[in-house]
């Protein structure tokens, strides 16, 4: 049944983004908020708002009981999890459905299956998606790890089976390192996820990160082309593009088709992203993981395909068939998104949760600023530092970079430190302009002082 009252179980810019979609669909929005978030933009914009607990996320946005209780009391018929927080919790998805509501996303079983790295890898392999050579399943003992690593070859990456966000990952160059690092990864995984299970795969040197946006309706899935998100700091994406210029047409087609095959093999419902490593040297790509939710960087795919992915995921959750077939989806031009974080890039990215004293968003054709700021807003210190995303759409990559440089000079946020200077420097950089980068590129670039040089010129 079509959704009529949607509870938004998230905060920040994605909550604002979901409210925009509900407004356009004529759905009533119910925004949850913590005691620290009474003044946030999504609370002001939503049709209704309900407090779900104390500032700390564990007492509010991560508290399943509180969120479900709020949804029932507000008579919501569906829940949108956004990204982060409970968006990849199978337990939460199950609780929503058990309370008689629709979960905007895939089934709890699918979240569980794709959330565990080992079962995700097996599912991908079965669907014909190329995977990095690695262990067949969980590694039992350190001696087992050494035997398996010997077969796969060094350098080898040790990962937490239940992991995410880069935690629990180690790279060993030989057996001696493996024997030191595997126990560390195990205890980190145990502490972070309550599950010390490990698996291993060959470490691809200096790969690119490429991902495919998909949406499924349970029977059929379609892709909205690929994004390249190789510019990362501490495994967090910083600058994202749609599409990936490094791919030739045949590789792009194959990559996108494998993502659709994987989604259809699990009867996927909702928006999802299949992430890959891409090796320029061999023109090969390998499955990393599938994120069973909408992602931060979804707007660039929306820009190049002229689609509203958030509306589409809400519609399919309500039981509608996909509104488009694959042939309807075409890609026009090139889009770039940069993440504006409340951090001081000149001070080791120290978080800076300030009071917004002035805000001027850039205007213009093909320019979009997704954010949750307003003048007089005090950013709370309890959550992620992402405050906005500047998105541009150009006729080609060079045009998009040029547009980004211009839009960045038009974006003014006073009262806090932000990562705008980082993006200004990146847009000017010859390496960025030529597209000659990979996932290990940005950190050495920062260490070499390129940010300071950029600011001086």
């Amino acid at each position: 049944m079509a959704i009529q009252r949607l509870l938004i179980a998230n905060r920040g810019e994605i909550a604002v983004r979901i409210i925009r979609a509900t407004n356009e669909l004529g759905i009533t929005s119910i925004q949850v908020y913590s005691e620290a978030d009474k003044e946030m933009l999504a609370v002001r914009l939503a049709d209704e708002a309900v407090c779900i607990g104390k500032p700390h996320a564990k007492d509010s946005y991560l508290n399943i009981e509180n969120v479900i209780k709020a949804a029932i009391e507000a008579k919501a018929d569906a829940v949108h999890p956004g990204y982060g927080f409970l968006s990849e919790s199978a337990e939460f998805a199950r609780a929503v459905v058990e309370a008689g509501m629709t979960y905007v996303g895939p089934s709890a079983d699918t979240i569980e299956r794709m959330g565990d790295k080992v079962s995700a890898r097996q599912t991908a392999e079965a669907a014909g998606v190329p995977i990095v050579p690695g262990s067949k399943g969980r590694i039992g003992t350190i001696d087992d790890a050494a035997v398996v690593a010997g077969k796969i070859g060094y350098p080898i990456m040790i990962k937490a089976s239940a992991g995410g966000g880069g935690r629990g990952i180690r790279i060993a160059n030989d057996e001696a390192e493996l024997r030191t690092l595997a126990p560390q990864a195990q205890s980190e995984a145990e502490a972070a996820f309550g599950d010390g299970g490990l698996y291993m795969e060959r470490s691809i040197q200096a790969p690119r990160h490429i991902e495919v946006q998909i949406v499924g309706d349970g029977k059929r899935a379609v892709h909205f082309f690929e994004r390249e998100c190789s510019l990362q700091r501490r495994r967090q994406k910083v600058w994202e593009e749609a599409g990936a210029e490094c791919l030739d047409d045949a590789t792009r087609k194959h990559l996108c088709e494998t993502a659709v095959a994987l989604a259809e093999s699990v009867n996927y419902v909702g928006a999802g992203t299949v992430e890959y490593l891409y090796d320029d040297a061999t023109n090969e790509f390998y499955f990393i993981e599938m994120n069973t939710r909408i992602q931060v960087e979804h707007p660039i795919s929306e820009m190049v395909t002229n689609t509203d992915l958030v509306q589409e995921m809400i519609l399919v959750a309500g039981g509608a068939e996909l509104s488009v077939s694959q042939d309807d989806i075409t890609k026009t031009g090139h889009a770039i998104e940069v993440r504006i974080n409340a951090e001081d890039p000149h001070m080791q990215f120290l978080p800076f949760p300030g009071l917004v004293t002035k805000l001027k968003a850039p205007q213009g054709d093909g320019v979009r600023f997704d954010h949750f700021l307003y003048e007089g807003y005090q950013i709370p210190p309890f959550y992620d530092s992402l405050v906005g995303k500047l998105i541009v759409h150009g006729k080609d990559r060079a045009d998009a970079i040029r547009k980004m440089a211009l839009a960045l000079t038009d974006l003014e946020i006073e009262g806090l430190k932000t990562t705008i200077p980082l993006h200004v420097a990146l847009a000017k950089d010859a390496g960025v302009q030529s597209g000659d980068f990979h996932t290990q590129w940005l950190e050495p670039w920062l260490e070499a002082g390129n940010l300071t040089k950029g600011a001086a010129s």
């Binding site: 700390h56 951090e343 120290l350 949760p353 210190p381 309890f382």
Partner: protein
Amino acid sequence: MPQIQSPLPGTFYNRANPESEPFKKTGDTVSATDTIGLIEVMKTFIEIKADVEGVFVEYAAKDGDPVAAGQVLAELEG
């Protein structure tokens, strides 16, 4: 009486991790470079140095408390 204030808003912790002992207890000597606590701000942990010297009296903020910039975290005797 010297006080140690939080340089920024966030969540205060008086110990390195939930299993360890507080950084300081009553009667401890404190030097300026000693770490007396951590502030978690936007998922980043920042060490709070005493910046003053003295004898530790007590924590004014509890472990896990949300704190504002400028809020007193601990009291010393000079």
